[in-house]
Subunit: 146 residues, 2 copies
């Protein structure tokens, strides 16, 4: 019943390290979808509609890029849209947006709690949020409650 060690000579074991890097790569591929979902939900809630141009302006990309990525979200069952109408989220898309939003808040709160200035916390959270596992998230919550 002995498992292989997780580290040798300072370095983690090969399979362990490969798994970690692999998960990080996966997270990066979902990061964009998550940001789009969150932003679309925010726009729908605050403006009432999510137009490709608005999405593009918010993200700081060209409208062509935004439209292409929305097409990917549609392919993945997260969004819907019809030509010259705004973008909407499917149930799956809304669920994702909700999860992402709460994660975003939690990460910002944790950063603030350990003394990170507001603007840096907001900035860094935008990237960090996509790499925080559920286990870590739970630890953040527990820490913040105390």
């Amino acid at each position: 019943m002995s498992r292989p060690p997780e580290t040798t000579a300072g370095l983690p074991t090969e399979p362990t390290q490969a798994r970690r890097f692999g998960k990080t790569r996966t997270a990066q591929s979902t990061a964009i979808a998550e940001d789009y979902a969150e932003l679309i939900a925010d726009l729908l809630a605050s403006v009432g509609e999510a137009r490709p141009t608005d999405i593009a302006r918010r993200l700081g990309v060209s409208h062509a890029t935004a439209i292409k990525t929305v097409a990917r979200l549609k392919r993945e069952g997260l969004a819907t849209s019809r030509p010259y109408r705004g973008v909407f989220l499917t149930e799956a898309g809304e669920a994702l947006a909700a999860r992402v939003k709460s994660r975003h808040r939690l990460v910002v709160d944790l950063l603030r709690a350990v003394g990170v200035p507001a603007e840096a916390a907001e900035q860094d959270a935008e990237g960090i949020e996509h790499h925080v596992s559920d286990v870590t998230l739970a630890a953040f919550e527990k820490y913040l409650r105390k």
Copy 2:
């Protein structure tokens, strides 16, 4: 002397949000270079050489992928290598590796300090480390010292 507001109706202001997303995108494009630099430095220190196959195994990618990315590091002045010899780091590459390594450690330490279990901390740090600004890093250090 009045600056434009950073938020309106819950959402950050357009230019603010666009800047944040843009920085996150940049961070993601440098993340891979950072991990390669850190790993090559570790291999050089612990094994004495950094072979493409070893790099590939550690990262969990094919050797072809590793070789191509090393080529990019060379193009960017971070690494050197000659056919069928191992990979080495330039001064710039070593400097990057050192910075990345200390950041990695700090992020893990911070996560552990707020109660994240060891393996989750290691896993998540691998992604988070690329999105932690100097300001946040300084805050982490200060928090850990107390």
